[in-house]
Symmetry: D2
Subunit: 119 residues, 4 copies
C-alpha cells in the first residue's frame, strides 16, 4: 500500500479541494455506494482469509487457484465500479467547471484505466 | 467461496489420493513454499482492509483504484505461482504414472489456466 | 465482427448526431490520431500474419505464444488509447451539453471499460 | 515480432531436437490442430483489417473498442489453446523422458504463462 504520498496526491489530484475539505469529501463519486463497497471489500477480505486456510489445510492446488481467480475478479469489479462512479461524478463536475480541470482529471483517469487493464 | 464441494472435488481431481491422504497432501506442489504463500496472502488481506479504510475516509477515488490494482496484481502473482508449482510437481508425477491420470490432470490444468486468464 | 447493427447503434449511442453526420464524424475523439491508430493496426495485422507463418512452419509453441501475447498487448493499447481519446473529447462535450446526454454517454463508457477489463 | 533469435531459441528450448528436426517438428503439440489455429488466426487478421476500416470510416469510438476487445479475446483463446496443447504433448513427453528435460520445459512454460496473464 502506497500511503505515504496519498495526502499529497489528494491535494494535487483534486485541485478544487480547499480548506473546506470535509464537505468536498462527502461528495466523492462513490459516496452514495460506500456501504456497498465496504460490504464487497469485507467479503473479499473473507475470501483472502479463506485462501490462507486452504493453503494451511494443504488443499488441492487447482481449487485454490479457482478461488484466487474469484477474489481477483471481485476486486476488479470494485475497481471498475469506483472508476465509473468517479467519471460520473467528479470528472463530469470538473468538466462542467473548467476545461482545464476536466482535462487534468481525465489525464488522471487515463493513468488509472491503464493500471486496471495492466498495460 | 465454493467450499461445500471441495472435499468431493479433491478426491475426484486427485485420483491417486487414497486412504493415505495426509502423506499425499504433504506433497502438494506448493508444500515447500507454504510459508511464503501465507505471508503473501496475509499482506493482501491487509491491503484489502486498507482499501476499506480508504473508502471510510472518503479518499480520492483514483488513489483507491490504484491500490485495488496493486492488490489484484498480488493475487494474480499468487495464482500463477500456485499454477506453476502444481505443474512442476503434480504434472511431473502424472507423467510418470498412467496416461489416463496424466491427461485428467492436464484437463484440470487447462480449465484452471482459463480461469486465471479469464476467458 | 458485429457489423450489422453498428449503424443503428451509432445513431443510438450518439444522439447528438444529426443529418450533419459527416461534420460530426470528423470530430471523433480519435480524429487527430487516426494515422497513428491505422499504423498500429497495420502492424498488428502483420503480427497476426506472422503468427500464421509460425504455425505453418511448425515453430516452437512457447515462442508462438510469446508473439500472441505481444499482439494482444498491442491491441489492448489501442483499446485503451481509443477509450481515453473518447473520454477526452466526447465526454467533455457531453458535460457541456445536457445532463441526460452526458449520463447516457457515461453509461456507454462504463460498458466499454468492462469489455476492455473483461469482466 | 521477435524473429531473429527464434531459431536459436528453438534449439535451446527443445534440447531433444536433433538433426532429425523435420520429423520432430511434425510432433508439435498443436500439430493435429494446425488447420483450426490457422483458420482462427485468419479470422483475427480479418477482424484487425475491419478495425482499420472502422477507423477510416470515423466510426463511433465505443463500437471500435468493443471490436478490439473481441479480437483481443480471440487472440488469448489462441494463446491458451497453444499452451495447453504444448503441456499435453511436448511437456508430458519431456517429463516421461527425463526429469531434467521436463523441469527445463516447465520453466519455459512458467515464463510463457506469465506473459499470457501479463504479470
Amino acid at each position: 500500500m502506497i500511503t505515504r504520498t496519498d495526502e499529497h496526491l489528494d491535494t494535487e489530484a483534486s485541485p478544487t479541494e480547499s480548506a473546506n475539505g470535509a464537505a468536498e469529501r462527502s461528495k466523492r463519486g462513490y459516496a452514495s455506494g460506500k456501504d456497498d463497497y465496504l460490504a464487497r471489500l469485507r467479503k473479499i477480505e473473507g475470501q483472502v482469509r479463506g485462501l490462507q486456510k486452504m493453503i494451511e489445510d494443504d488443499r488441492w492446488c487447482p481449487h485454490i487457484v479457482t478461488q484466487v481467480a474469484s477474489a481477483t475478479r471481485a476486486l476488479q469489479e470494485v475497481a471498475v465500479g469506483l472508476l465509473n462512479d468517479h467519471l460520473r461524478h467528479c470528472v463530469m463536475a470538473a468538466a462542467k467547471g473548467s476545461n482545464v480541470d476536466g482535462q487534468a482529471q481525465l489525464d488522471e483517469v487515463a493513468t488509472t484505466i491503464r493500471q486496471v487493464v495492466r498495460l
